[in-house]
Amino acid sequence: MVFGIPKLEHTSRMCEVCVMGKQHKKPFPKKSSRASQPLDLVYSDVCGPISPTSIGGSRYFLTFTDDFSGKTWVYVLKEKK
């Protein structure tokens, strides 16, 4: 222990300087539950551009993942749009 330091009073007031200098990304919660039946929730994302282009001339691939089964569908794409 250190002696001689005056007892600091805790304040709940937001300090602008602290926020400016110290703010960070909030933690992400662990996923709590899975979907109870197929197609209740589907995740999708596009990956790319990938170089070199594939033999079919594609640069991206698009995935759909079903939360219930974990099954994934994939489509290769030439263009993102």
């Binding site: 992400f28 996923k31 899975r34 039946q37 197929p38 197609l39 209740d40 929730l41 589907v42 995740y43 999708s44 994302d45 596009v46 990956c47 990938i50 070199p52 282009t53 594939s54 033999i55 079919g56 594609s58 691939f61 698009l62 995935t63 759909f64 993942t65 079903d66 939360d67 219930f68 089964s69 974990g70 099954k71 994934t72 569908w73 994939v74 489509y75 290769v76 794409l77 263009e79 993102k80 749009k81």
Partner: protein, 322 residues
């Protein structure tokens, strides 16, 4: 992109007899267009968007992408396939992932969780393997080759068969009459005959070299030039530097030492021609003053020397020298 989403939605809804209720995506331009938004609204799909710069909220997708890309890199590398084949590798990787067990499910595969049926896996082959595909009778004359050489690129999604790249026509074909040589790899650079893995041959040579340099405890009795170093397992080789066992399962390695040449000094000493060869070798060493006899200085160890027995043949295969 929207076209593909419609295609996906129709397919999965029909197959599962469930309705697509919720779609989680990032805010990529392709997902936030008016058309996409309108389509979701029309079909009553809740479109959950992640916050900007927060891919963590679409973790399942992002992790899946990583898994797929890791597999793709590996699949292309394993058989030295050109990178242009990534598209087929991606589709093949997903096909495989749907048939593998996963942490999220208890003892079943995603495909089984989706369609109740247990998937078959006995048809799976190594991506990029050399495949011999039967040519249909009507496509060839009696004396023409019955098969053509192709490369395995994947599997039929809705049909029992393989997706293959025809090396001659450079086209992707489908077939179920295929024989595979999973050991073989196509040499994409020179595009001539496929070769057995080059890496392995180099590794074997390297292994042999290291064994030659390894000092053997006894000076004159020759030790076996063979070793049980299995291919691709460097760590075991490092641990067991020199061992006596020949791995008979490994045909390639075994062939290296099956040329009727004796391996040990005792074996060679039984045969007159080897005795003669050894005498000649000793005489030439004496004649050339290669070595002189000396006493070992204190605190030094002698380096081992061993006999290597090798039959040298001329171009016709006749024995020239032993």
């Amino acid at each position: 992109m929207l076209g593909k989403f419609k295609e996906f939605k129709n397919l999965v809804e029909k197959q599962s007899e469930c309705k697509l209720k919720c779609l989680r995506t990032d805010r990529g331009g392709e997902y936030v267009s008016h058309d996409f938004d309108d389509y979701c609204k029309e079909n009553g799909i809740v479109h959950q968007l992640t916050m900007p710069q927060t891919p963590q909220q679409n973790g399942v997708s992002e992790r899946k992408n990583r898994t797929i890309m890791n597999m793709v890199r590996y699949m292309l590398k394993e058989k030295n396939c050109p990178k242009e084949f990534w598209g087929d590798a991606v589709v093949c990787a997903v096909y495989l992932l749907n048939r593998f067990t996963t942490k999220r499910l208890q003892k079943i595969t995603p495909k089984e969780a989706w369609s109740i049926k247990k998937p078959r896996v006995d048809h799976l082959r190594i991506f990029g393997s050399v495949a011999y595909v039967k040519i249909q009778e009507e496509r060839r004359t009696k004396l023409e080759d019955k098969s053509q050489k192709c490369i395995l690129l994947g599997y039929g999604e809705n049909s029992h068969g393989y997706k293959l790249y025809n090396l001659m026509t450079k086209k992707v074909i489908m077939s179920r009459d295929v024989k595979f040589d999973e050991e073989q790899e196509w040499n994409w650079n020179s595009e001539d005959q496929p070769q057995k893995l080059i890496v392995d041959e180099e590794q074997i040579q390297k292994d042999e070299g290291e064994i030659m340099l390894a000092p053997s405890a006894s000076t004159n009795s020759p030790t076996s030039p063979s070793s049980s170093t299995t291919r691709k397992t460097k760590s075991i080789q490092e641990i067991y530097y020199v061992t006596e066992r020949i791995n008979l399962d490994d045909v390639n390695m075994f062939c290296l030492f099956s040329g009727n040449d004796p391996i040990t000094f005792e074996e060679a000493y039984q045969e007159d021609r080897w005795k003669k060869a050894m005498k000649e070798e000793i005489n030439s060493i004496i004649k050339n003053n290669t070595w002189e006899l000396t006493t070992l200085p204190e605190g030094h160890n002698a380096i081992g020397v061993k006999w290597i027995f090798k039959t040298k043949r001329n171009a016709e295969g006749e024995i020239e020298k032993t």
